[in-house]
Symmetry: C2
Subunit: 225 residues, 2 copies
Protein backbone atom coordinates (compact mmCIF):
# COMPACT_ATOMS: atom_id res chain seq x y z
CA UNK A 1 0.00 0.00 0.00
CA UNK A 2 2.78 2.42 0.89
CA UNK A 3 3.90 2.29 -2.72
CA UNK A 4 0.83 4.30 -3.65
CA UNK A 5 1.21 7.04 -1.06
CA UNK A 6 2.69 9.45 -3.58
CA UNK A 7 -0.30 8.99 -5.84
CA UNK A 8 -2.71 9.53 -2.97
CA UNK A 9 -0.88 12.58 -1.67
CA UNK A 10 -1.30 14.21 -5.06
CA UNK A 11 -4.95 13.25 -5.32
CA UNK A 12 -7.20 16.25 -4.68
CA UNK A 13 -9.28 14.06 -2.40
CA UNK A 14 -6.38 13.86 0.04
CA UNK A 15 -5.27 17.45 -0.29
CA UNK A 16 -3.90 18.77 2.99
CA UNK A 17 -3.29 15.29 4.39
CA UNK A 18 0.26 14.51 5.42
CA UNK A 19 2.08 11.29 4.71
CA UNK A 20 2.00 10.47 8.39
CA UNK A 21 -1.73 10.91 8.66
CA UNK A 22 -2.40 8.85 5.55
CA UNK A 23 -1.77 5.51 7.20
CA UNK A 24 -4.07 6.17 10.14
CA UNK A 25 -6.64 7.55 7.81
CA UNK A 26 -6.68 4.60 5.44
CA UNK A 27 -6.98 2.25 8.38
CA UNK A 28 -9.91 4.30 9.66
CA UNK A 29 -11.57 4.30 6.25
CA UNK A 30 -11.02 0.59 5.80
CA UNK A 31 -10.61 0.84 2.03
CA UNK A 32 -10.40 -2.14 -0.29
CA UNK A 33 -7.60 -2.47 -2.77
CA UNK A 34 -8.80 -3.99 -5.99
CA UNK A 35 -6.44 -5.38 -8.62
CA UNK A 36 -8.37 -5.34 -11.86
CA UNK A 37 -7.15 -7.47 -14.74
CA UNK A 38 -7.23 -6.06 -18.24
CA UNK A 39 -10.83 -5.72 -19.36
CA UNK A 40 -12.34 -6.67 -16.06
CA UNK A 41 -15.07 -4.66 -14.39
CA UNK A 42 -14.60 -2.55 -11.28
CA UNK A 43 -18.28 -1.67 -10.93
CA UNK A 44 -21.24 -3.02 -12.83
CA UNK A 45 -24.31 -1.02 -13.67
CA UNK A 46 -27.09 -1.84 -11.24
CA UNK A 47 -24.82 -2.49 -8.29
CA UNK A 48 -25.38 -0.35 -5.22
CA UNK A 49 -23.62 2.98 -5.61
CA UNK A 50 -21.67 2.91 -2.41
CA UNK A 51 -18.03 3.36 -3.29
CA UNK A 52 -15.77 6.22 -4.17
CA UNK A 53 -12.91 4.91 -6.29
CA UNK A 54 -9.36 6.18 -6.54
CA UNK A 55 -7.17 5.02 -9.40
CA UNK A 56 -3.75 3.98 -8.09
CA UNK A 57 -2.29 2.52 -11.26
CA UNK A 58 -3.49 1.91 -14.79
CA UNK A 59 -6.69 3.59 -15.93
CA UNK A 60 -10.39 3.01 -15.60
CA UNK A 61 -13.15 3.92 -17.99
CA UNK A 62 -16.64 4.95 -16.97
CA UNK A 63 -18.98 3.21 -19.38
CA UNK A 64 -22.61 3.77 -20.16
CA UNK A 65 -24.95 1.56 -22.14
CA UNK A 66 -28.01 3.29 -23.53
CA UNK A 67 -31.49 1.80 -23.65
CA UNK A 68 -30.70 -0.25 -26.75
CA UNK A 69 -27.36 -1.44 -25.42
CA UNK A 70 -25.08 0.88 -27.36
CA UNK A 71 -22.01 1.44 -25.25
CA UNK A 72 -20.15 4.71 -24.85
CA UNK A 73 -17.19 5.85 -22.78
CA UNK A 74 -18.11 8.74 -20.51
CA UNK A 75 -14.70 9.27 -18.96
CA UNK A 76 -11.20 7.86 -18.67
CA UNK A 77 -9.73 8.25 -15.22
CA UNK A 78 -5.92 8.36 -14.85
CA UNK A 79 -3.91 7.50 -11.72
CA UNK A 80 -4.76 9.92 -8.93
CA UNK A 81 -8.23 10.49 -10.35
CA UNK A 82 -11.42 9.54 -8.58
CA UNK A 83 -14.66 8.09 -9.91
CA UNK A 84 -18.12 7.19 -8.73
CA UNK A 85 -18.14 9.94 -6.13
CA UNK A 86 -21.16 11.76 -7.52
CA UNK A 87 -23.25 8.60 -7.63
CA UNK A 88 -22.28 7.56 -4.16
CA UNK A 89 -22.79 11.01 -2.62
CA UNK A 90 -26.10 11.57 -4.40
CA UNK A 91 -27.45 8.55 -2.60
CA UNK A 92 -28.38 6.59 -5.71
CA UNK A 93 -29.52 3.11 -4.92
CA UNK A 94 -27.95 1.64 -8.03
CA UNK A 95 -25.18 2.71 -10.36
CA UNK A 96 -26.34 4.00 -13.76
CA UNK A 97 -22.89 3.29 -15.27
CA UNK A 98 -20.26 0.60 -15.29
CA UNK A 99 -16.56 1.06 -14.66
CA UNK A 100 -13.99 -1.15 -16.36
CA UNK A 101 -10.21 -1.35 -16.47
CA UNK A 102 -9.06 -1.40 -20.11
CA UNK A 103 -5.53 -2.11 -18.86
CA UNK A 104 -4.40 -3.93 -15.70
CA UNK A 105 -5.14 -1.44 -12.93
CA UNK A 106 -5.20 -0.94 -9.22
CA UNK A 107 -7.96 0.99 -7.51
CA UNK A 108 -8.75 1.93 -3.95
CA UNK A 109 -12.41 1.64 -3.05
CA UNK A 110 -13.73 3.67 -0.15
CA UNK A 111 -17.13 2.99 1.28
CA UNK A 112 -18.97 6.27 1.03
CA UNK A 113 -20.93 5.67 4.22
CA UNK A 114 -17.69 5.20 6.04
CA UNK A 115 -16.31 8.39 4.56
CA UNK A 116 -19.35 10.46 5.40
CA UNK A 117 -19.86 9.16 8.90
CA UNK A 118 -17.73 10.89 11.46
CA UNK A 119 -15.56 8.32 13.10
CA UNK A 120 -15.81 7.70 16.80
CA UNK A 121 -12.34 8.93 17.61
CA UNK A 122 -12.11 12.62 16.77
CA UNK A 123 -10.24 12.32 13.50
CA UNK A 124 -9.46 15.76 12.17
CA UNK A 125 -8.35 14.66 8.73
CA UNK A 126 -11.64 12.88 8.26
CA UNK A 127 -13.35 16.24 8.17
CA UNK A 128 -10.70 17.35 5.75
CA UNK A 129 -11.47 14.45 3.47
CA UNK A 130 -15.15 15.26 3.42
CA UNK A 131 -14.39 18.87 2.66
CA UNK A 132 -12.15 17.85 -0.23
CA UNK A 133 -14.85 15.60 -1.59
CA UNK A 134 -17.41 18.35 -1.35
CA UNK A 135 -15.10 20.87 -2.94
CA UNK A 136 -14.35 18.60 -5.88
CA UNK A 137 -18.01 17.96 -6.58
CA UNK A 138 -18.89 21.63 -6.19
CA UNK A 139 -16.16 22.62 -8.62
CA UNK A 140 -17.37 20.11 -11.15
CA UNK A 141 -20.80 21.57 -10.63
CA UNK A 142 -19.60 25.02 -11.65
CA UNK A 143 -17.80 23.59 -14.68
CA UNK A 144 -20.94 21.82 -15.83
CA UNK A 145 -23.05 24.93 -15.34
CA UNK A 146 -20.61 26.97 -17.39
CA UNK A 147 -20.64 24.44 -20.17
CA UNK A 148 -24.42 24.38 -20.28
CA UNK A 149 -24.50 28.15 -20.44
CA UNK A 150 -22.15 28.07 -23.43
CA UNK A 151 -24.06 25.31 -25.21
CA UNK A 152 -27.52 26.77 -24.72
CA UNK A 153 -27.63 29.47 -27.41
CA UNK A 154 -28.88 28.25 -30.76
CA UNK A 155 -26.32 29.83 -33.06
CA UNK A 156 -22.61 29.18 -33.23
CA UNK A 157 -21.92 32.87 -32.97
CA UNK A 158 -23.81 33.24 -29.73
CA UNK A 159 -22.20 30.15 -28.31
CA UNK A 160 -18.80 31.57 -29.10
CA UNK A 161 -19.56 34.96 -27.64
CA UNK A 162 -21.01 33.42 -24.50
CA UNK A 163 -17.89 31.34 -24.07
CA UNK A 164 -15.53 34.24 -24.76
CA UNK A 165 -17.32 36.61 -22.42
CA UNK A 166 -17.23 33.94 -19.78
CA UNK A 167 -13.50 33.55 -20.20
CA UNK A 168 -13.04 37.32 -20.13
CA UNK A 169 -14.85 37.49 -16.81
CA UNK A 170 -12.85 34.63 -15.39
CA UNK A 171 -9.59 36.25 -16.41
CA UNK A 172 -10.90 39.63 -15.32
CA UNK A 173 -9.80 41.25 -18.53
CA UNK A 174 -10.63 41.54 -22.21
CA UNK A 175 -7.49 39.67 -23.22
CA UNK A 176 -6.93 36.06 -22.31
CA UNK A 177 -5.72 32.66 -23.43
CA UNK A 178 -8.20 29.82 -23.69
CA UNK A 179 -7.32 26.25 -22.71
CA UNK A 180 -8.58 24.74 -25.98
CA UNK A 181 -7.44 24.40 -29.53
CA UNK A 182 -10.06 24.90 -32.23
CA UNK A 183 -11.19 21.31 -32.37
CA UNK A 184 -11.52 21.03 -28.60
CA UNK A 185 -13.42 24.31 -28.44
CA UNK A 186 -15.82 23.14 -31.13
CA UNK A 187 -16.40 19.91 -29.22
CA UNK A 188 -16.93 21.84 -26.02
CA UNK A 189 -19.55 24.05 -27.62
CA UNK A 190 -21.12 21.19 -29.53
CA UNK A 191 -20.60 22.66 -33.01
CA UNK A 192 -18.67 21.90 -36.16
CA UNK A 193 -15.06 23.01 -36.14
CA UNK A 194 -15.18 24.40 -39.67
CA UNK A 195 -18.38 26.33 -39.06
CA UNK A 196 -16.91 27.69 -35.85
CA UNK A 197 -13.76 28.73 -37.62
CA UNK A 198 -15.80 30.58 -40.20
CA UNK A 199 -17.82 32.26 -37.47
CA UNK A 200 -14.63 33.35 -35.72
CA UNK A 201 -13.59 34.96 -38.98
CA UNK A 202 -16.87 36.87 -39.14
CA UNK A 203 -16.55 38.04 -35.55
CA UNK A 204 -13.09 39.30 -36.34
CA UNK A 205 -14.21 41.11 -39.47
CA UNK A 206 -17.12 42.59 -37.56
CA UNK A 207 -14.59 44.11 -35.17
CA UNK A 208 -15.93 42.28 -32.12
CA UNK A 209 -12.85 40.25 -31.33
CA UNK A 210 -9.19 39.82 -32.11
CA UNK A 211 -7.59 36.43 -31.92
CA UNK A 212 -4.54 34.48 -32.88
CA UNK A 213 -4.14 30.92 -31.80
CA UNK A 214 -5.46 30.55 -28.31
CA UNK A 215 -5.07 34.22 -27.44
CA UNK A 216 -8.28 36.20 -27.63
CA UNK A 217 -9.27 39.77 -26.99
CA UNK A 218 -12.79 41.13 -26.74
CA UNK A 219 -13.21 44.56 -28.31
CA UNK A 220 -15.70 47.03 -26.97
CA UNK A 221 -18.75 47.34 -29.14
CA UNK A 222 -19.04 50.78 -30.68
CA UNK A 223 -20.14 53.17 -27.97
CA UNK A 224 -23.32 55.00 -28.82
CA UNK A 225 -22.95 58.79 -28.80
Amino acid sequence: MEQYYDILLHCPLFDGITRQELGTMLACLDGNILEAAKGSPVFLEGEPARYVGVVLSGTVQVIRDDFYGNRSVLAAVPPGGIFGEAFACAGLETLPVSVVAPVPSTVLLLDCRRVLTGCSQACSFHIRLIRNLLQGIAQKNLMLTRKIRCMSPKTTREKLMTFLMDQAKQHAGAEFVIPFDRQALADYLGVERSAMSAELGKLRKAGLIECSGSRFRLLNPIAEP
Copy 2:
Protein backbone atom coordinates in the same frame (compact mmCIF):
# COMPACT_ATOMS: atom_id res chain seq x y z
CA MET B 1 -36.83 32.64 14.23
CA GLU B 2 -39.11 29.84 15.39
CA GLN B 3 -41.67 31.05 12.87
CA TYR B 4 -39.43 29.69 10.12
CA TYR B 5 -38.87 26.25 11.60
CA ASP B 6 -41.47 24.68 9.34
CA ILE B 7 -39.70 26.06 6.30
CA LEU B 8 -36.36 24.80 7.51
CA LEU B 9 -37.66 21.37 8.40
CA HIS B 10 -38.86 20.94 4.84
CA CYS B 11 -35.61 22.22 3.36
CA PRO B 12 -33.52 19.34 1.98
CA LEU B 13 -30.53 20.83 3.71
CA PHE B 14 -32.08 20.02 7.08
CA ASP B 15 -33.48 16.66 6.12
CA GLY B 16 -33.41 14.26 9.03
CA ILE B 17 -33.12 17.03 11.60
CA THR B 18 -35.82 17.19 14.25
CA ARG B 19 -37.51 20.32 15.47
CA GLN B 20 -35.80 19.90 18.81
CA GLU B 21 -32.36 19.69 17.28
CA LEU B 22 -32.93 22.68 15.05
CA GLY B 23 -32.52 25.25 17.79
CA THR B 24 -29.26 23.85 19.08
CA MET B 25 -28.05 23.49 15.57
CA LEU B 26 -28.80 27.04 14.51
CA ALA B 27 -27.09 28.35 17.60
CA CYS B 28 -24.07 26.22 16.78
CA LEU B 29 -24.02 27.43 13.19
CA ASP B 30 -24.43 31.04 14.24
CA GLY B 31 -26.44 32.00 11.16
CA ASN B 32 -27.42 35.53 10.25
CA ILE B 33 -30.98 36.42 9.45
CA LEU B 34 -31.16 39.00 6.70
CA GLU B 35 -34.28 40.97 5.94
CA ALA B 36 -33.96 42.11 2.35
CA ALA B 37 -36.14 44.97 1.14
CA LYS B 38 -37.67 44.78 -2.32
CA GLY B 39 -34.93 45.08 -4.92
CA SER B 40 -32.08 45.04 -2.46
CA PRO B 41 -29.05 42.81 -2.86
CA VAL B 42 -28.30 39.78 -0.69
CA PHE B 43 -24.90 39.11 -2.26
CA LEU B 44 -22.94 41.23 -4.69
CA GLU B 45 -20.70 39.82 -7.37
CA GLY B 46 -17.10 40.05 -6.25
CA GLU B 47 -17.81 39.53 -2.58
CA PRO B 48 -16.16 36.57 -0.90
CA ALA B 49 -18.17 33.40 -1.55
CA ARG B 50 -18.54 32.31 2.00
CA TYR B 51 -22.24 31.87 2.68
CA VAL B 52 -24.86 29.30 1.97
CA GLY B 53 -28.23 31.01 1.83
CA VAL B 54 -31.64 29.62 2.72
CA VAL B 55 -34.75 31.47 1.62
CA LEU B 56 -37.19 31.79 4.53
CA SER B 57 -39.76 34.07 2.93
CA GLY B 58 -40.15 35.87 -0.35
CA THR B 59 -37.87 34.89 -3.23
CA VAL B 60 -34.35 35.61 -4.33
CA GLN B 61 -32.95 35.73 -7.84
CA VAL B 62 -29.46 34.68 -8.79
CA ILE B 63 -28.25 37.28 -11.26
CA ARG B 64 -25.37 37.27 -13.69
CA ASP B 65 -23.95 40.17 -15.64
CA ASP B 66 -21.95 39.23 -18.69
CA PHE B 67 -18.74 40.92 -19.80
CA TYR B 68 -20.63 43.79 -21.42
CA GLY B 69 -22.98 44.25 -18.50
CA ASN B 70 -26.04 42.48 -19.89
CA ARG B 71 -27.92 41.06 -16.98
CA SER B 72 -29.68 37.69 -16.88
CA VAL B 73 -31.52 35.73 -14.22
CA LEU B 74 -29.94 32.34 -13.63
CA ALA B 75 -32.37 31.11 -11.05
CA ALA B 76 -35.30 32.07 -8.85
CA VAL B 77 -35.18 30.49 -5.43
CA PRO B 78 -38.46 29.98 -3.53
CA PRO B 79 -38.86 29.63 0.24
CA GLY B 80 -37.08 26.52 1.47
CA GLY B 81 -34.61 26.69 -1.40
CA ILE B 82 -30.91 27.26 -0.95
CA PHE B 83 -28.46 29.30 -3.00
CA GLY B 84 -24.76 30.03 -3.19
CA GLU B 85 -23.84 26.59 -1.89
CA ALA B 86 -21.84 25.55 -4.95
CA PHE B 87 -19.78 28.73 -4.91
CA ALA B 88 -19.08 28.52 -1.23
CA CYS B 89 -18.23 24.82 -1.26
CA ALA B 90 -16.04 25.09 -4.36
CA GLY B 91 -13.82 27.47 -2.43
CA LEU B 92 -14.19 30.39 -4.83
CA GLU B 93 -12.57 33.51 -3.55
CA THR B 94 -15.20 35.77 -5.01
CA LEU B 95 -18.77 35.31 -6.15
CA PRO B 96 -19.30 35.29 -9.92
CA VAL B 97 -22.97 36.18 -9.50
CA SER B 98 -25.16 38.52 -7.53
CA VAL B 99 -28.26 37.63 -5.56
CA VAL B 100 -31.14 40.05 -5.19
CA ALA B 101 -34.56 39.98 -3.61
CA PRO B 102 -37.16 41.12 -6.17
CA VAL B 103 -39.74 41.12 -3.38
CA PRO B 104 -39.30 41.72 0.36
CA SER B 105 -37.62 38.55 1.57
CA THR B 106 -35.99 36.89 4.53
CA VAL B 107 -32.92 34.72 4.17
CA LEU B 108 -30.77 32.75 6.54
CA LEU B 109 -27.06 33.01 5.83
CA LEU B 110 -24.79 30.25 7.07
CA ASP B 111 -21.05 30.68 7.04
CA CYS B 112 -19.75 27.81 4.99
CA ARG B 113 -16.57 27.50 7.03
CA ARG B 114 -18.67 27.09 10.09
CA VAL B 115 -20.79 24.47 8.42
CA LEU B 116 -17.84 22.47 7.15
CA THR B 117 -15.79 22.60 10.32
CA GLY B 118 -16.75 19.96 12.80
CA CYS B 119 -17.79 21.72 15.95
CA SER B 120 -15.96 21.13 19.19
CA GLN B 121 -18.85 19.45 20.95
CA ALA B 122 -19.65 16.24 19.15
CA CYS B 123 -22.71 17.41 17.28
CA SER B 124 -24.22 14.56 15.37
CA PHE B 125 -26.62 16.64 13.31
CA HIS B 126 -23.71 18.70 12.09
CA ILE B 127 -22.48 15.68 10.18
CA ARG B 128 -25.98 15.21 8.93
CA LEU B 129 -26.06 18.76 7.62
CA ILE B 130 -22.82 18.26 5.73
CA ARG B 131 -24.10 15.05 4.23
CA ASN B 132 -27.30 16.77 3.10
CA LEU B 133 -25.29 19.54 1.52
CA LEU B 134 -23.07 17.07 -0.26
CA GLN B 135 -26.03 15.03 -1.43
CA GLY B 136 -27.78 18.06 -2.86
CA ILE B 137 -24.74 19.17 -4.79
CA ALA B 138 -24.05 15.65 -6.05
CA GLN B 139 -27.64 15.28 -7.23
CA LYS B 140 -27.43 18.58 -9.08
CA ASN B 141 -24.24 17.27 -10.60
CA LEU B 142 -26.03 14.27 -12.04
CA MET B 143 -28.83 16.46 -13.37
CA LEU B 144 -26.36 18.73 -15.11
CA THR B 145 -24.49 15.78 -16.59
CA ARG B 146 -27.71 14.35 -17.94
CA LYS B 147 -28.68 17.61 -19.49
CA ILE B 148 -25.31 17.98 -21.18
CA ARG B 149 -25.60 14.48 -22.56
CA CYS B 150 -28.98 15.33 -24.07
CA MET B 151 -27.80 18.66 -25.50
CA SER B 152 -24.58 17.35 -27.01
CA PRO B 153 -25.81 15.68 -30.20
CA LYS B 154 -25.99 17.97 -33.18
CA THR B 155 -29.40 17.03 -34.55
CA THR B 156 -32.78 17.45 -32.93
CA ARG B 157 -33.58 13.82 -33.59
CA GLU B 158 -30.52 12.57 -31.76
CA LYS B 159 -31.15 14.93 -28.88
CA LEU B 160 -34.67 13.62 -28.57
CA MET B 161 -33.62 9.99 -28.73
CA THR B 162 -30.87 10.55 -26.20
CA PHE B 163 -33.34 12.15 -23.85
CA LEU B 164 -35.99 9.48 -24.35
CA MET B 165 -33.56 6.61 -23.89
CA ASP B 166 -32.32 8.29 -20.76
CA GLN B 167 -35.84 8.53 -19.42
CA ALA B 168 -36.50 4.92 -20.35
CA LYS B 169 -33.48 3.82 -18.37
CA GLN B 170 -34.47 5.93 -15.40
CA HIS B 171 -37.96 4.51 -15.39
CA ALA B 172 -36.57 1.06 -16.12
CA GLY B 173 -39.06 0.48 -18.89
CA ALA B 174 -39.90 1.44 -22.44
CA GLU B 175 -43.01 3.31 -21.38
CA PHE B 176 -42.87 6.40 -19.22
CA VAL B 177 -44.18 9.89 -18.58
CA ILE B 178 -41.83 12.81 -18.97
CA PRO B 179 -41.94 15.83 -16.62
CA PHE B 180 -42.06 18.38 -19.44
CA ASP B 181 -44.57 19.76 -21.86
CA ARG B 182 -43.38 20.31 -25.42
CA GLN B 183 -42.12 23.83 -24.90
CA ALA B 184 -40.23 22.93 -21.75
CA LEU B 185 -38.70 19.90 -23.45
CA ALA B 186 -37.57 22.03 -26.38
CA ASP B 187 -35.99 24.52 -23.98
CA TYR B 188 -34.32 21.71 -22.09
CA LEU B 189 -32.80 20.29 -25.26
CA GLY B 190 -31.97 23.71 -26.65
CA VAL B 191 -34.01 23.40 -29.83
CA GLU B 192 -37.03 24.98 -31.45
CA ARG B 193 -40.36 23.68 -30.28
CA SER B 194 -41.85 23.49 -33.77
CA ALA B 195 -38.83 21.68 -35.22
CA MET B 196 -38.91 19.30 -32.29
CA SER B 197 -42.59 18.65 -32.79
CA ALA B 198 -41.96 17.86 -36.43
CA GLU B 199 -39.13 15.53 -35.48
CA LEU B 200 -41.35 13.75 -32.99
CA GLY B 201 -43.78 13.18 -35.84
CA LYS B 202 -41.04 11.65 -37.96
CA LEU B 203 -39.91 9.40 -35.14
CA ARG B 204 -43.46 8.23 -34.74
CA LYS B 205 -43.91 7.58 -38.45
CA ALA B 206 -40.59 5.75 -38.52
CA GLY B 207 -41.99 3.40 -35.91
CA LEU B 208 -39.36 4.26 -33.32
CA ILE B 209 -41.66 5.72 -30.70
CA GLU B 210 -45.24 6.13 -29.69
CA CYS B 211 -46.34 9.16 -27.78
CA SER B 212 -49.37 11.09 -26.68
CA GLY B 213 -49.03 14.08 -24.47
CA SER B 214 -46.32 13.42 -21.93
CA ARG B 215 -46.57 9.66 -22.21
CA PHE B 216 -43.90 8.05 -24.37
CA ARG B 217 -43.01 4.55 -25.36
CA LEU B 218 -39.84 3.42 -27.06
CA LEU B 219 -40.37 0.70 -29.63
CA ASN B 220 -37.77 -1.90 -30.31
CA PRO B 221 -35.92 -1.33 -33.54
CA ILE B 222 -36.60 -4.11 -36.02
CA ALA B 223 -34.72 -7.17 -34.80
CA GLU B 224 -32.29 -8.56 -37.36
CA PRO B 225 -32.91 -12.22 -38.21
